[in-house]
């Protein structure tokens, strides 16, 4: 074993090491991301190739269609603006329903959560409505409000509001009572407690529930279009299916899926932005 003194590193050398290390980490992160995306693209290409190969050889074309037919149909739908018009109708129904459902759900969740006595009364009813497949009420909703856009908005709102209500209600009921006591001891009135404590505490749950609720609202809107409609992507899918046009159905489904994913990314970005104060990283 040899012993010896180790020369201390100079400040500039240490700074260089840190910069080099940071650069190397950055490069590794990019490479890792590139690898993941390469694999994803390879999976899609492999799936589409297998699909294209099987179409007409293993399975009949009218059942499974094929990637090239789907692209062709997409082009046709886009040409006359038909697809965008259907997309706009569905998004209008879904967006309005989602906004109304979020407003009603979060307000009720907050109010019922704050007032314990109301919570105790409504708990079983809330559980019942949360568990109920709301879509099944669509025929009844047709009777109540007719078959126009209002019906789809109603179904979307009624479907998604319970998800939001339940999350906000639970978040509000589980408020940290030590924090509540602190607010009371500081002399806060009910409005200050709601705005300063309940609302921010429920924000995380609200944003999470919004992300869960949006696809539910979309399902509501599409089911509404299935029940009775001459517009919307639900109608387009149903109509294409009735004509054995599998490619048309797939175009409608892909369009709605990509739209939902885009909106989910926006909601996720908002969630990240608003909940900046969350996350790990405490100094111990």
């Amino acid at each position: 074993m040899t012993t010896g003194t180790v020369a201390p590193k100079s400040a500039s050398s240490a700074a260089f090491d840190t910069a080099a290390l940071r650069e190397r980490n950055q490069r590794e992160r990019w490479l890792d991301l590139l690898r993941i995306w390469a694999i994803r693209i390879a999976v899609v290409v492999a799936f589409c190739s297998a699909w294209q190969f099987a179409s007409g050889r293993i399975f009949p074309v009218f059942i499974v269609s094929s990637p090239t037919t789907v692209v062709e149909r997409f082009g046709e739908f886009m040409e006359g603006g038909e697809l965008l018009s259907h997309l706009a109708y569905t998004m209008q129904a879904c967006g309005l329903g989602f906004a109304i459902g979020a407003l009603i759900g979060s307000t009720l969740g907050l109010l019922f959560g704050i007032y314990e006595s109301i919570s105790r009364v409504i708990a079983p009813f809330a559980a019942m409505l949360y568990s109920m497949p709301k879509i099944m009420l669509s025929p009844l909703i047709v009777v109540w409000v007719g078959v126009d856009l209002t019906m789809k908005v109603f179904v979307a709102a009624f479907s998604c509001m319970w998800v939001i209500f339940y999350n906000v209600w639970n978040a509000t009921r589980r408020i940290d009572h030590n924090l509540l006591d602190q607010f009371r001891l500081m002399g806060a009135n009910q409005r200050q407690i709601i705005v300063g404590l309940y609302l921010p505490s429920a924000t995380t749950w609200l944003l999470t529930s919004l992300r869960v609720a949006f696809p539910v609202a979309l399902i509501g809107a599409v089911v509404g279009e299935f029940v009775a409609s001459s517009q919307g992507l639900g109608h387009l899918a149903l109509d294409s299916g009735q004509r054995y046009d599998s490619a048309g159905v797939i175009v409608a489904v892909l369009t709605i899926t990509l739209s939902a994913m885009t909106i989910d990314s926006v909601l996720a970005a908002i969630q990240r932005k608003v909940a900046l104060w969350q996350g790990e990283g405490a100094r111990g």
Partner: protein
């Protein structure tokens, strides 16, 4: 909140007065009281530490002092009178962190000022001054999750002191900190409070902490709890560091005396021994409740 205090300098009215106080928590399981026959007077500017085993009702006393809990028997006076609502001028620091995670250090310290309706600029100035005085002047825009345990406790203390409270209640505020940080926080608290007329009631499990900080130590015992001993610490040297304080002969005498009291009231599990007299009362009340009659109170 401090300006609410009617206690002017020179008045003889104690800040806190317990007279034969019994407290039962509201609810179904409230047949047994939490504390019984508590008698304690805390004059203005006094630093009182409350020690005792788990379950003897130390935190209950603080809840009564804050007005969050009302007494079931006896009389409790804050600033010379009984209050129907929460008591004004209270600063309450708990072991459990009560910072708002969505607010920065500045926002957390400014919160009580915001609640009182103080204009934004003024409250931010005062909060920034307070943050600087608790050693967090460079951390104003950091969130609680970015701070260490000791720093978070200093933010809590800053938020409590920024309103100039009349009575500071501290419920094991340093209980979650490691030994070194705890001593540092004790020194910090002493430096903040010494020379002021702030009245403090400080609950702790730690005898050395109580002897380091307090002007007197109240030892509680039993479950339900009552005050077993009040040890005045007038013979302890003041204005010295906690380490120096612990080397003084008087410190050892007080520590031995308090330890004897507390250890004599501990069960093998380390919790407070049942109070036999009140046990009997509780049993009687339970029997009465079972028979659908009103129990003793």
């Amino acid at each position: 909140m401090g300006d609410i205090s009617p206690l002017d300098a020179g008045t003889e009215v104690p800040v806190v007065e317990f007279k034969d106080v019994t407290v039962r928590y509201p609810g179904k399981g409230a047949i047994r009281p939490a504390v019984v026959d508590v008698n304690l007077t805390v004059p203005k500017g006094r630093f009182v530490c409350v020690v005792g085993p788990s379950g003897c009702g130390k935190s209950t006393l603080l809840h009564v002092c804050s007005g969050l809990l009302k007494v079931s028997g006896g009389e409790f006076r804050y600033l010379g009178k009984e209050w129907r609502k929460l008591h004004p001028g209270i600063g309450y620091v708990t072991q459990r962190e009560t910072l708002l995670p969505w607010k920065t250090v500045l926002g957390n310290i400014a919160l009580p000022l915001k609640i009182t309706g103080m204009p934004r600029t003024e409250r931010h100035e005062r909060a920034a001054d307070m943050a600087a005085s608790v050693g967090l002047g460079d951390w104003l825009n950091h969130y609680p999750r970015e701070l260490s345990g000791g720093m978070r406790q200093r933010v809590q203390l800053g938020r409590t002191l920024v309103t100039d409270p009349t009575l500071l209640l501290m419920d094991e505020p340093f209980g979650a900190l490691d030994a070194v940080l705890r001593v540092r926080m004790q020194e910090f608290l002493k430096s903040r409070i010494e020379g002021t007329d702030l009245t403090t009631i400080f609950v702790t499990h730690d005898l050395s902490e109580a002897l380091t900080l307090g002007d007197e130590v109240v030892a509680m015992a039993g479950a339900p709890g009552s005050i077993d001993q009040i040890d005045k610490l007038e013979d302890l040297p003041r204005g010295v560091s906690p380490v120096e304080l612990r080397q003084s002969p008087a410190y050892a005498v007080h520590e031995a005396r308090l330890w004897k009291t507390i250890a004599g009231n501990l069960s093998e599990d380390g919790v407070a021994l049942s109070n036999p007299e009140v046990e009997h009362e509780g049993d009687h009340a339970m029997t009465a409740a079972a028979h659908g009659r009103r129990g003793t109170s």
